[in-house]
C-alpha cells in the first residue's frame, strides 16, 4: 500500500499554508501567555505531525471499513464518561489516562464523519427517508450525550457536518429544507430539556448583551470586543496589546486567541489570517471535488465542514456575533486535544488526496506493464 503512494500527490500547496497558520498560532500563544505554554504547544504540534505522517501510511478505506466499530467504541467511551471521567470547570469531558487526559467528544467528531460517509457512500441521488433517518439517529445519539456533558460547542458542530454530508451524498433539496425546518422547530425542546442554566445564560447574554452586562455572560464578550476594537487598522503590535497583556481578556490563549491576533495585528493582518483559512478550506473542497471514490469525498466534505464550522463559530464568538461556546480555533488555539484532533482530521484529508490520484495512476502503470 505504501509503495502505491507517491509523494508527488502530497498536497504541497495546502501544507505550507498549514505551517504559516501554525507559526502564527505559536507566536500569539507566546504573546497571550508565557514561554511555558509555547513549549507545550510545540510539543503538541510535534506529536500532531508525527500522528499526521503515521496515519498517511494507512489507507483511509481501512478506517472507513472499521467505521462502525470505531463509532461503537467512542460511543461507549462517551457513555462511560459520567462514571469514570474527571471534572474540569464543572463539566465532565475528560478521561485521565496517567498524566494524559482524553476527550472522547473530540474523537466523536471525526468518528461521526467516517461513520456517516461509510453509511451513505453508495447512495444514489435522492436519499430515501430511511437513509436520512438512520443518519439523523447516528448523529443525535452522540450529540445528546455530548450536550449532557455539557459541551454545547462540540455538539453543535455535528449539525453542519451532518447537513454537508447529506447534501453531498445527494439529498433532495426540499428534503433538506424540510429537515432544517424540522430541526428549528424542535430546538425549543432542546432548550428546555438539554441545556444547563449557564448555557442558557450564555445564549441570553449573546442575544441581549445589555441585560447581562455585569459579571457573567456579557463579560467575556465585552472584553473581546474591546480587544478587537482597540486593535484598529494596524494593531498595537505583537506583544503590545493592552487587553491581552493586562489579562482583561479571558481564555486568551485558547478560545479567544483570535481577539489577541486582531488586537495586536490589526484589521489588515487579521484579514490575512482569515484569508489563509479560506484558502485552506477551498483546498479542502477542491480535494473533495477531485476525489472519485465516493466514501473519500464524503469524508473530506465532512472534515472540511468541521474545520469551517470551528473557524467561523470561534471567530464569530470573539466578534460578538455568536454565543460563547467553547470552540477552539483549529491549529492556533492552545490545547493538545484540539491540536491532535485537527491533525488527525487533516491527515485523513491528505490521505484521501494522495490515494485519489494514485489509484488511477497505478492502474495505468499496471496496464502498461
Amino acid at each position: 500500500m505504501i509503495n502505491n503512494v507517491s509523494t508527488k500527490n502530497f498536497d504541497w500547496f495546502m501544507f505550507p499554508i498549514l505551517c504559516i497558520i501554525l507559526t502564527v498560532g505559536v507566536f500569539f500563544i507566546w504573546s497571550a501567555s508565557s514561554e511555558k505554554f509555547v513549549f507545550r504547544q510545540l510539543i503538541w504540534i510535534l506529536m500532531g505531525f508525527t500522528l499526521f505522517f503515521t496515519l498517511l501510511y494507512f489507507d483511509y478505506l481501512s478506517f472507513a471499513h472499521y467505521a462502525y466499530i470505531i463509532y461503537a467504541c467512542v460511543l461507549s467511551l462517551l457513555l462511560l464518561l459520567p462514571i469514570l471521567g474527571g471534572s474540569v470547570k464543572g463539566s465532565q469531558r475528560w478521561f485521565s489516562v496517567g498524566s494524559f487526559s482524553i476527550q472522547p467528544s473530540e474523537f466523536m467528531k471525526i468518528t461521526l464523519v467516517l461513520t456517516l460517509a461509510r453509511f451513505l457512500r453508495y447512495r444514489k441521488y435522492g436519499l430515501g427517508l430511511f437513509d436520512i433517518g438512520i443518519s439523523l439517529l447516528l448523529t443525535l445519539i452522540p450529540m445528546t450525550l455530548i450536550i449532557k456533558q455539557p459541551d454545547l460547542g462540540t455538539a453543535l458542530i455535528m449539525v453542519p457536518i451532518l447537513l454537508s454530508i447529506l447534501y453531498t451524498a445527494g439529498i433532495r433539496l426540499h428534503h433538506l429544507l424540510i429537515f432544517i425546518g424540522a430541526g428549528l422547530a424542535v430546538s425549543p425542546l432542546l432548550w428546555m430539556f438539554l441545556l444547563k442554566s449557564y448555557q442558557k445564560m450564555r445564549v441570553i447574554g449573546f442575544l441581549w448583551p445589555e441585560k447581562t452586562a455585569d459579571w457573567g455572560a456579557g463579560y467575556h464578550r465585552l472584553q473581546s470586543l474591546i480587544a478587537i476594537g482597540s486593535g484598529g487598522f494596524l494593531g498595537a503590535g505583537w506583544g503590545n496589546g493592552t487587553q491581552n497583556q493586562m489579562k482583561f481578556l479571558p481564555e486568551r490563549h485558547t478560545d479567544f486567541i483570535f481577539a489577541v491576533i486582531a488586537e495586536e495585528w490589526g484589521f489588515l493582518r487579521a484579514c490575512f489570517v482569515l484569508l489563509l483559512y479560506l484558502v485552506f478550506l477551498t483546498c479542502g473542497i477542491g480535494i473533495a471535488r477531485n476525489t472519485r471514490e465516493p466514501c473519500g469525498r464524503l469524508i473530506v466534505v465532512g472534515l472540511v465542514t468541521m474545520f469551517a464550522t470551528q473557524i467561523v463559530v470561534n471567530v464569530c464568538m470573539t466578534l460578538g456575533i455568536a454565543p460563547i461556546v467553547g470552540i477552539t480555533l483549529p491549529f492556533v488555539s492552545y490545547g493538545g486535544s484540539s491540536m491532535l484532533t485537527s491533525f488527525v482530521a487533516l491527515s485523513i484529508i491528505f490521505n484521501i488526496r494522495m490515494r485519489s490520484k494514485i489509484d488511477l495512476a497505478s492502474r495505468r502503470l499496471h496496464e502498461i506493464r
Partner: protein, 642 residues
C-alpha cells in the same frame, strides 16, 4: 457526481468569511475609537495619597492636637475566611455556605495549608488573642458570603466577586517596631497588608476636650453624600472654566475620619488638607508590562491657632473640679475665648473605645455646657433688667422701692430671696444684695416688650456665633403677662441662657457697651508657617447705653464682692466685679449656681462665667469659691495680699 453542490458549499464558506470581515471592519475601523477609549481608561489607574491633617495649637503655640503615624493591618479575604473557619467561630456557622468551607478544611487541607498561619503569628506578635483579631471580621465574612451566595443564585454558578479579593482590617494602631517584624518575616504573614495610618493624638489628654472635639469614621451614607458633593464641585468648577487642578485631588475616601465635634468639626475643611493622587499608566511592550507614574503630592492641612490659653484652660478646669458645670474665660475687649471648661469631660484619645459608654452616660459628658447648656440665669440677668430700665428712663438711680420680703401682683405672691426683706432699696443696693422685689417692681413698670428688646440687644436668646458647632440658642420669651415679665426680670421663668451669652453680656458692661464676637480662632497657618487668615470680627455691635448708666452698673457689680452677695469670699483682693446667681429649678435644694463677672474692675482683662449645675447651695456659696480659686491662678501676684 454533483460538482454543483461543492460550489454551493464553497460559496457558503466564502459568504460566511465575507460576513466576518465586514464585522471585523465595523469593530476595528468604524467603532475603533470607542473601544480604544475604553481600553485606554483601563490602562490608567489612580490611587489616593493621604494627606496629613493640620495640627491645633493654643495661642502660645502649645500643641493641642496632632497627627501621628501608626499602622493598620488588614488581611486578604481568602486568608481571613480560612483563619475564621480554622478558629471555628460560632457566629459564622449560621451561614450555610460556611458548612461547605468547614468540610473543605479536611478534604483539601493541603491547598489551604498556610492560609491560617497569619492568625497564629499575628496574635503571637501583637499579643492579641485570635478571637479578638477575628472579632470584627465576622460581619465582613457574613456580608461577603451572602453577596457571593446571591451572585451564585443569580448566575447558577460560583462567581468571583470583587469583595473576595479585598483586604479587611484586623488590627489598628500597630507601632512601627512590630510592623518591621512583619515586613522582615513576610513568609509567616501571607495575605497581610500594612497600611500607614495617621492617628489623631491629643497630647494634653482631656484638656479642652469639648473645644477640640474628636475624630470619627465616616459612615457609608456620609461618604456617599461627600463624594457626590465633591463630584459636583469638580463638575461645577470644570464647567465654569475654573482652575482644574482640583480635578487632580481626591475627596474623602471610605473609612476616612472626620472631625465630629468642636473645632475639629468646625474647621474640618481647613484641617484636612487635600488628598494627592498617584496615576499609573500601564504600557505593554513586547509582552512586558511597564508602569509610568505621575504623582500629585498631597497638600497637608492647615494648622489652627486657637485663642485658648492652655494654662488658663488648665486653671479653669482645675477650679471647676468635679462640679458639673462650665467656666468660660474671655477677653472682654476682643471676644477671644481664653478658656472654656465643661465638666464632665471625655478623653478624645480613647474616644473609639469609650464612645458607646460615654454617649449613654446620664451626665452627658459630650455636652459642652458653656455653649450647649441652656439654663435659667437667675440673678445674673438682673443687670440686664437694670440697664433696660435705666436706659428707657423707666427708673432713675434715685428710684426707691420698699422690700418687705415679698411683693404681690394680682394676688400672686412674689418672694424675695431674703425672708426679712431689704427695706428701702435703690439700684445702688438692689444689685449688690440682689433684691428681687426691686426688680419685680421695675419689671411692672418696664413691661415685657422693652425688656425683650434689651435682652435681645445683649444677645440673650441669640446664638453668639462662636466658631463651634451645635451652639444652643437658649430662649428669651416674648412675654405677654406682667407676671411672667416679673419672673423673667430676675432671670427665672421661661428664660434660658448659656454661660457664653452671659459672659458676652457682662463683657459689654465691662468694656463700655460693645457686644463682642466670641471666637476661638486666632489664625490659620499653612504648612510653611505663613498665616493664611487671621480672625476678623465682622460682628461688633456698639450698644446705645449712656456711659453713666454703665458706670453705675459697674459700681453695683463691684459692691457685690465688697458688701453684697459675694462678700467674704476673698474676691475683693483680685478686684473682681461680678454678680452671683441662684437659678431655681423648681425642685427643693436643686439650684444652678452662677457667678459671672470680670477682673480687675478698673481695667478688665478677663471676663468670666462660672456655672455649677444642680447644686443644693446658693450662687455665692458654690460659685464664689470657684471664682476665687480661678482668680488666684489668674492673678498669682495678688495672692499674698489675701
Amino acid at each position: 457526481m454533483y460538482p454543483f453542490r461543492f460550489k454551493i458549499i464553497l460559496i457558503i464558506f466564502v459568504m460566511l468569511f465575507i460576513g466576518i470581515v465586514v464585522r471585523l471592519f465595523q469593530l476595528q475601523i468604524i467603532e475603533s475609537d470607542k473601544y480604544r477609549g475604553i481600553s485606554k481608561t483601563r490602562r490608567i489607574t489612580s490611587s489616593p495619597l493621604d494627606s496629613v491633617r493640620g495640627s491645633i495649637f493654643d495661642r502660645h503655640g502649645k500643641v493641642l492636637a496632632i497627627d501621628q503615624h501608626t499602622f493598620d493591618i488588614s488581611v486578604q479575604y481568602k486568608y481571613l475566611l480560612y483563619g475564621a473557619v480554622m478558629h471555628n467561630n460560632k457566629a459564622i456557622s449560621r451561614i450555610p455556605e460556611m458548612e461547605v468551607h468547614k468540610k473543605a478544611k479536611k478534604s483539601c487541607r493541603e491547598c489551604h495549608e498556610n492560609q491560617d498561619v497569619w492568625l497564629k503569628e499575628l496574635s503571637h506578635l501583637l499579643r492579641i488573642p485570635p478571637k479578638k483579631l477575628l472579632e470584627d471580621t465576622n460581619q465582613v465574612i457574613e456580608r461577603v458570603e451572602k453577596l457571593k451566595q446571591n451572585m451564585q443564585q443569580k448566575y447558577g454558578r460560583a462567581i468571583r466577586i470583587r469583595e473576595e479579593t479585598d483586604f479587611y482590617p484586623v488590627a489598628s494602631d500597630v507601632d512601627w517596631e512590630k510592623v518591621i517584624q512583619i515586613e522582615i518575616n513576610q513568609d509567616n504573614f501571607p495575605g497581610i497588608r500594612i497600611t500607614p495610618k495617621p492617628k489623631r493624638i491629643y497630647p494634653e489628654q482631656e484638656l479642652a476636650a469639648h473645644i477640640l472635639g474628636y475624630m470619627g469614621k465616616l459612615n457609608e451614607d456620609e461618604w456617599k453624600a461627600h463624594s457626590i458633593r465633591w463630584n459636583n464641585f469638580i463638575l461645577a468648577s470644570s464647567s465654569a472654566g475654573n482652575d482644574t487642578t482640583s480635578l487632580l485631588y481626591d475627596g474623602y475616601a471610605k473609612n476616612d475620619t472626620v472631625g465630629r465635634a468642636g473645632v475639629e468639626a468646625q474647621y474640618e475643611e481647613e484641617l484636612r488638607g487635600l488628598r494627592g493622587k498617584r496615576f499609573e499608566e500601564i504600557i505593554c511592550k513586547n509582552t512586558q508590562i511597564e508602569k509610568t507614574v505621575l504623582e500629585r503630592p498631597p497638600i497637608p492641612g492647615n494648622n489652627l491657632y486657637l485663642t485658648l490659653d492652655s494654662q488658663i484652660q488648665a486653671y479653669a478646669e482645675r477650679s471647676l473640679g468635679k462640679n458639673p458645670g462650665a467656666i468660660v474665660v474671655m477677653n472682654p475687649w476682643t471676644g477671644e475665648i481664653l478658656a472654656m471648661a465643661s465638666h464632665p469631660r471625655f478623653n478624645p484619645n480613647t474616644i473609639d473605645k469609650d464612645f458607646g459608654k460615654l454617649i449613654r452616660h446620664p451626665s452627658k459628658p459630650f455636652l459642652n455646657r458653656a455653649i450647649q447648656g441652656a439654663l435659667p440665669p437667675g440673678s445674673i440677668f438682673k443687670i440686664i433688667t437694670a440697664t433696660a430700665a435705666l436706659s428707657s428712663n423707666c427708673i432713675t438711680t434715685r428710684s426707691t422701692f420698699e422690700c418687705p420680703g415679698y411683693t404681690k401682683y394680682k394676688n400672686i405672691v412674689f418672694k424675695c430671696w431674703s425672708d426679712y426683706g431689704h427695706g428701702l432699696v435703690t439700684i445702688e443696693d438692689a444689685i449688690p444684695y440682689s433684691c428681687n422685689v426691686f426688680f419685680f417692681e421695675t419689671a411692672k413698670m418696664l413691661g415685657g416688650n422693652t425688656l425683650y428688646e434689651w435682652a435681645k440687644k445683649f444677645g440673650i436668646g441669640e446664638k453668639t456665633a462662636i466658631d463651634l458647632p451645635h451652639e444652643k440658642r437658649g430662649s428669651m420669651p416674648k412675654t405677654a403677662t406682667t407676671a411672667s415679665t416679673m419672673n423673667i426680670a430676675i432671670g427665672q421663668g421661661a428664660l434660658l441662657t448659656t454661660p457664653l451669652q452671659l459672659v458676652r453680656a457682662y463683657a459689654a458692661v465691662a468694656n463700655g457697651g460693645t457686644l463682642v464676637q466670641p471666637h476661638l480662632l486666632l489664625k490659620i497657618t499653612n504648612g510653611r508657617g505663613e498665616t493664611v487668615r487671621a480672625f476678623q470680627s465682622e460682628n461688633k455691635q456698639k450698644l446705645e447705653i449712656p456711659p453713666s448708666i454703665l458706670s453705675s452698673m459697674r459700681m453695683g457689680l463691684q459692691d457685690v464682692v465688697t458688701r453684697g452677695t459675694a462678700k467674704d469670699k476673698g474676691l475683693d483682693v483680685y478686684k473682681v466685679a461680678g454678680k452671683t446667681g441662684t437659678a431655681e429649678t423648681g425642685r427643693h435644694k436643686d439650684n444652678h449656681a452662677w457667678f459671672v463677672g470680670y477682673a480687675p474692675y478698673d481695667n478688665p482683662q478677663y471676663c468670666f462665667a462660672i456655672l455649677v449645675e444642680h447644686t443644693p447651695g446658693h450662687g455665692g456659696d458654690i460659685a464664689g469659691p470657684i471664682a476665687r480659686e480661678l482668680m488666684s491662678y489668674l492673678f498669682p501676684e495678688l495672692n499674698e495680699a489675701s
